[in-house]
Subunit: 460 residues, 2 copies
């Protein structure tokens, strides 16, 4: 079976057997059958539990072999010592795809774990069954209301495809949830990063690919596939295990061997992958790519309420290739025509003295931003405003959405610090038209990532 | 007059003249008289405006010289060309302290600005009046419900003293507001960083000092004072203008000359100042120091729901001096007694397989954390949990507050990622007992800063 067909069974299963489904019920019971029903999953659910006739009102089976219909995906939630046998039963039932949730295999330090891990590899070799994990949340797909994670998650139809090695990325943050689609490779004994990439490559529901990498079995194939995919969609990678201590811990987490970090750095860059340094930047970069158009040139204008905040953004942009350069003569003159006599407008544009004296400051602000966003010589603009009252936030949300409606082609991001900024940032993210971050540095860093990818795609 | 007495007039004024007070009213009018009344400021307010007999119900004066009573602080909010004359009138009225809000002096590029700036310096020299600014928000003090910023701000009695060069730090974020006390030096033509430091040095309301530095006139005096103060209270510095572009912009923001960044790096470190890289880290580090006790040794335990998240934290801790080292035999055995047979507990402690099989998981979690926080060989602990449901957040807030009540002396921080984490993090911050961050990296970085300062103070 082709990689893509196999991956579809993992991520778009039309039927799923839940082996070791719990009979416990309620909010914290980790009852996957209940979760799937509450998500609104429309596929067939087959709970497998020899001690139950039904779970959450769904008919249960004593073993996977007792299910009459064909099954796309087996989710194996039983203790580690039962897994090789159950995997063999799945193969006998002609199930092609299985997610192994249990841990305690090559990530454990006892001999038993190592032996059970080898048993899994033997079953794969003997039967051809494909395995996600072990030590995985499995897969999730917000577009079909599906997740095999035992933790109940919030599914959001974001155009994002994640491949990760921790269940952490099945969750998200108030301003952004990573799913879309998630594939947790866990200890990646079989299904690996390249398989996930090939699946996302031509997936119309996925616009951005995010990778959380601890280690992998076949980096060569991965880099080859990534180089191709990166020219179609941005690939953002959080490669962890940089430190010696971290690399040791990683071996006991997913049993992976971390390569030298500097080598990863070069390899990822050569493949056209955007490497990020930490989880927050992973979040910011991914959500940036879900919205921002590509940049046509490296010149960016910063328009700010505070000269100090503009400088913070510029500190981050150093060595990014982005230039906060002099504005064109025409743009400078247009801005100065709005300003008091003494003001010599430069970039960053300190908009406060321009609009201060005007009776309708929001109109002047709009004019300033229209001038900047219409300037063909600029590849993008950053806007900063402090949300010092909730009403300022409400006004800002309207102002910014309205602004990008008039300039949809121009890369544009905002930094909105302030005591009341959360609701505005979350609201703008929900509106889905423009990007807002809580600090100047996070907005600037996202812009640096956008330029990195725009260069790659545009040959700039 | 002594530095501290002068600074008290700026930060703890018992009477304030607002020169150029606006007659406009309402939410967005930037009416400082209305702001002060709404904050509940108990000092005397003297609006000065030749075109008004009262402002917001407070008697107004045609000029500062018409005020009969003595005035601690003049806040000059008039256009730049009027400032030198008004400053001279303030001196004649024997006002010792004046904040000049207007911009367009040495930060402007026209000759007029330069000339007006020199006029201010001349008045200072001739009269001895002390000036904060120009181009400043002035000062703020939550403990007396005072702020001279034209933007209405939210005042929080945090034990934090800020000295900055942008009004940005009069605001804050949903989880933390910087004030306490704020001194905006603006273009620091007179009052400088060392003056603010000497004021905060023995201020019982200030436990942590935060500096936002663009540039200063007398770095030698600053470093000398800082070296002394840093042994009493942590000083956290965000020194901006790292990039060449940024350094140029900075000159037009506050007229400061940015020194070579690497020299600043060495000088700040030698003075015992904790240098941070960006605004978010500034926030995190300051709020960390408002709560965390000092570390007694460099060994830290990480307790995590996800091995992957533990590795992210360790990546940040590399080169910090903190060790995520093997647990003691006794602690290891205590943890293993809670765990299933195959588990060989290491550090980071992956708590999920330990507590998974237990009927009351929160009790096991408490036992795990009690074991770690009681271990004398550990200098601190990091705990991680994903807030995947609002109820998990509520439970976590109780759990963590309860935990630190039992171990008040042990440095302890949490990383709480997840779709519903905001409310929990803000709530814990309000409770004021323990620190929570949204990502593993931010918690780890705060710990690295704590160790940096603990070493300095403890000679470790």
């Amino acid at each position: 079976m082709q990689t893509i067909e196999i991956m579809k069974k993992f991520v778009e299963p039309q039927s799923v057997a839940i082996i070791g489904a719990t009979r416990q019920s309620g909010e914290f019971s980790l009852n996957l059958v209940e979760h799937l029903l509450s998500y609104g999953y429309k596929g067939k659910i087959y709970p497998v539990n020899p001690n139950a006739s039904e779970i959450a009102g769904v008919k249960a089976y004593p073993s996977v072999k007792d299910i009459e219909e064909p099954v796309d995906l087996a989710v194996i939630m039983t203790p580690r010592n039962t897994v090789p046998d159950i995997l063999r039963q799945c193969a006998e039932k002609e199930i092609v795809c299985a997610s192994i949730i249990a841990q305690g295999f090559n990530d454990a330090r006892d001999e038993e774990g190592r032996r059970l891990y080898n048993d899994i590899l033997d079953v794969i070799k003997a039967t051809g069954i494909r395995v996600l994990g072990p030590n995985t949340f499995g897969s999730a797909n917000a577009f079909i209301n599906f997740s095999s994670s035992f933790a109940r998650i919030a599914l959001d139809k974001n155009p994002v495809g994640i491949i990760c090695q921790t269940g952490l990325f099945f969750h998200g943050f108030p301003e952004f949830r990573f799913t879309g689609k998630c594939i947790d490779l866990g200890n990646n004994c079989d299904i690996d990063f390249a398989d996930g990439l090939e699946y996302y490559e031509n997936d119309p529901e996925v616009k951005v690919i995010g990778l959380h990498i601890e280690g992998m079995k076949d980096p060569a194939r991965f880099l080859q596939v990534a180089r191709r995919v990166a020219m179609k969609k941005p690939i953002v990678a959080l490669k962890t295990g940089r430190s010696e201590q971290g690399a040791r811990a990683l071996q006991s987490h997913t049993g992976s061997l971390a390569g030298k970090d500097a080598l990863w750095d070069i390899a990822l860059r050569n493949a056209g992958i955007i490497r990020v340094n930490e989880q927050e930047e992973f979040l910011d970069t991914i959500r940036m790519f879900t919205i921002a158009p590509l940049m046509k040139n490296k010149r960016v204008a910063i328009s700010t309420f505070s000269g100090g905040a503009g400088i913070m953004a510029m500190d981050v942009l150093q060595n990014s290739g982005i230039e906060i350069s002099k504005l064109s003569k025409a743009t400078g003159e247009k801005l100065e025509s709005l300003a008091p006599g003494w003001l010599n407008v430069s970039n960053p544009v300190d908009y406060w003295p321009i609009m201060m004296g005007h009776p309708n400051q929001m109109l002047v602000m709009r004019d300033i931003m229209d001038i900047l966003l219409s300037d063909e010589e600029l590849g993008g603009a950053i806007y900063m405003q402090v949300i010092f009252q909730p009403k300022v936030g409400e006004g800002m949300r309207m102002f910014l959405n309205n602004l990008v409606d008039r300039h949809p082609e121009k890369p544009f991001m905002s930094a909105l610090p302030g005591t009341y900024n959360s609701e505005t940032i979350i609201g703008l993210q929900q509106d889905g038209k423009t990007l807002a971050f809580p600090t100047p540095e996070r907005a600037a860093r996202a812009f640096a990532r956008l330029w990195q990818y725009s260069k790659l795609r545009g040959g700039l």
